[in-house]
């Protein structure tokens, strides 16, 4: 099918470039349509975005409640932005607020009247402009302000996009027939904006001088991180003593309480009667702002004075099983 059609369609272009381009320009695309409209061509990207928290930024029930039913004006702009520019706090959009943080806000720029993106493309339906700021963390910084500050301090070589918009390899940007026939596959990045979940290797745990230490060694921003949400990290340590006694120690870490685990800054917790400790079983769980369930990050056992015990991954008590990625 594809092989047969290409010669036919190419013969159309022989009629001249000008009329061809005009035939395919779809003017309404530059008049801030709903995200759904972009799916006419960018069907795959739309599907990913639709599953993302960005698509729910306005409709989220917890957000609706905390913004006092959209009456706290301070709260609105980042959850339904008009235009996203690097490191700038956006302004509130007038139309289609239900779309939350959507395609047009992130890609359409008033100044050029074009869709900006990371690639050099030929896109007859709408003008496009290559703009390398899309590949940098500063693109996310206008909204994820606290996280961006933390990320800068961590001096990571990886950008937000490297982790939260993972490369999908080369794929078609558009799915619409017959346009996709004119375009080669290009580097694609997941618009699922997944929250991820820290891995065992991201967190170092040890016992030394009577204290239990935790250190975020792998995530280049606080764990957990937030601007307005209230995500949490839970530590449950079951301490077994040589005399048979068992004690459970619990701690909660959160951006709101200002005790989230900053990259490279160990946090120590005193263990009473440390000399008598025979082993410590540790569980670390996290709860995202918008989720009820806690998810297991690590489960580990430490024996004696800092001797590393076996490492294993299991289910949290009464919690859900988890994969490496919160997409499941």
């Amino acid at each position: 099918m594809r092989a047969f059609l290409i010669p036919v369609l190419f013969s159309l272009t022989l009629l001249g470039c000008g009329p061809f381009e005009e035939v395919f320009v779809e003017k309404d695309l530059l008049e801030r349509p709903q995200a759904k409209r972009c799916s006419d061509c960018h069907a795959d990207i739309y599907k990913e975005w639709k599953e993302s928290r960005h698509a729910l930024a306005w409709k989220s029930e917890s957000y609706r409640r905390e913004s006092e039913n959209y009456t706290k004006t301070k709260c609105l702009a980042c959850h339904a932005p008009h235009q996203v520019d690097p490191e700038k706090k956006p302004k509130l959009r007038a139309e289609f607020k239900d779309d939350g943080v959507a395609c047009v806000a992130c890609h359409f720029k008033e100044e050029t009247g074009a869709m900006h993106g990371p690639l050099k493309v030929w896109s007859p339906p709408h003008p496009s402009k290559q703009d390398l700021s899309y590949t940098k963390s500063s693109f996310c910084a206008g909204c994820h302000r606290e996280t961006y500050k933390e990320w800068k301090l961590a001096k990571s070589s990886k950008s937000c996009q490297d982790c939260h918009m993972k490369s999908l390899g080369k794929k078609d940007l558009i799915q619409k027939f017959p346009f996709y026939l004119f375009h080669r596959a290009k580097p694609r990045h997941s618009h699922r904006f997944t929250s991820l979940i820290a891995s065992e290797e991201d967190i170092k745990v040890w016992f030394e001088g009577g204290r239990l230490y935790l250190e975020n060694v792998g995530v280049p921003h606080n764990l957990p991180t937030a601007d307005q949400g209230d995500p949490r990290l839970y530590l449950i340590a079951r301490i077994a003593y040589k005399d048979g006694k068992v004690r459970t120690l619990r701690r909660m870490f959160s951006p709101q309480a200002e005790n989230a685990l900053a990259p490279g800054r160990p946090v120590g917790i005193t263990i009473t009667n440390a000399e008598g400790v025979s082993s410590i079983k540790i569980k670390l769980l996290r709860k995202l702002s918008w989720k009820k369930e806690k998810e297991l990050i690590l489960s580990r056992e430490i024996h004696g004075e800092g001797l590393p015990g076996q490492v294993r991954r299991g289910n949290p008590e009464g919690g859900e099983g988890v994969g490496k990625d919160s997409e499941g």
């Binding site: 905390e66 006092e68 009456t71 706290k72 301070k74 709260c75 009577g210 204290r211 209230d230 949490r232 839970y234 619990r250 701690r251 909660m252 959160s254 709101q256 309480a257 200002e258 005790n259 120590g268 917790i269 005193t270 009473t272 009667n273």
Partner: protein, 277 residues
């Protein structure tokens, strides 16, 4: 009658009730007042009527002092209009309003007789003062503070959600345990109770942003200096030195926030609880 006396007497219309009263009354505000305050309405309609009436009252005063009777009449009429409108807002309060007295004030201004105006103004002012004596404070307390009732805090030690009162109790108990263990010379348990107290105070700070969108308010009570003192307390406790003097010194600063925060929030919270708001 000189100008000065007139302004003084008109001012007395408002001061009257509050200077005479030797006790404070807090009556539970009627339910239909809810309609004019958050969360039901963000426009504070009842309060703006109060401001309007008070402004128009002053308009009469001001213009009579300038011997501008025409404008004085204008504000007397506006006052009557607002007074009548306000009397219809809260059915339970109908009896407090005497629209006839507002009408008499208009007539007194029309007569251009200062003595008549004074008498009528005082009579009308008394209706304002009577209601204020019973309700002004309770309305301030009940409606100007969002409720702590709806706020749930998660205890950072037991991972359970609880209301503010229960949380305060837990936090206070770990504070008391710390003091007792310290005085008993039980370093280990003091360290444990102390760290739990510190964690609970930290998590309490997370609650402020549920109401305050400006960091300034929060910083006023739990600012950088306060938090670094709290960190230091945590460190001294976990060093296991059991240095009583040091710990009590740091505790004094750590508990300064309790009193400051109570000064601002506790009275309204307790009154609201009593009114079941």
């Amino acid at each position: 009658m000189g100008r000065k006396t007139l302004s003084l007497l008109l001012a007395g219309v408002f001061l009257g009730a509050s200077t005479l009263a030797s006790e404070v009354v807090l009556k539970k505000p009627p339910e239909s007042l809810d309609n004019y305050y958050p969360p039901k309405s963000k426009k504070w309609e009842f309060l703006s009527k109060m401001h309007a009436m008070s402004t128009y009252f002053y308009g009469i005063n001001l213009n009579i002092n300038n011997e501008d009777w025409k404008n004085a009449l204008r504000w007397a009429k506006e006052l009557k209009k607002e007074y009548v409108a306000t009397s219809k807002m809260v059915p339970e309060w109908k009896e407090y309003f005497k629209p006839k007295l507002a009408d008499e004030l208009v007539k007194a201004v029309e007569s251009k007789n200062v003595d008549n105006v004074l008498k009528a103004a005082q009579a009308l002012g008394k209706t304002c003062a009577e209601c204020h004596a019973e309700y002004q404070l309770s309305v301030k307390l009940a409606y100007h503070f969002p409720s702590f009732e709806s706020i749930k805090l998660e205890d950072p030690i037991e991972f359970m959600e609880m209301d503010t009162g229960k949380y305060m109790e837990k936090m206070t108990n770990s504070l008391k345990a710390l003091k007792i263990y310290l005085m008993q010379g039980d370093k280990d348990n003091a360290a444990q109770a102390g760290e739990e107290f510190v964690e609970r105070v930290r998590a309490l700070k997370g609650m402020c942003s549920k109401c305050h969108t400006s960091k300034l308010s929060v910083e006023a009570i739990m600012g950088k200096e306060y938090m670094s003192n709290l960190d230091k307390l945590g460190e001294v406790l976990s060093s296991g030195s059991g240095d009583k003097g040091k710990v009590f010194g740091l505790l004094q600063k750590a508990t300064s926030a309790c009193m400051k925060c109570h000064n601002v929030h506790l009275v309204p919270a307790v009154v609201q609880e009593k009114f079941e708001k």
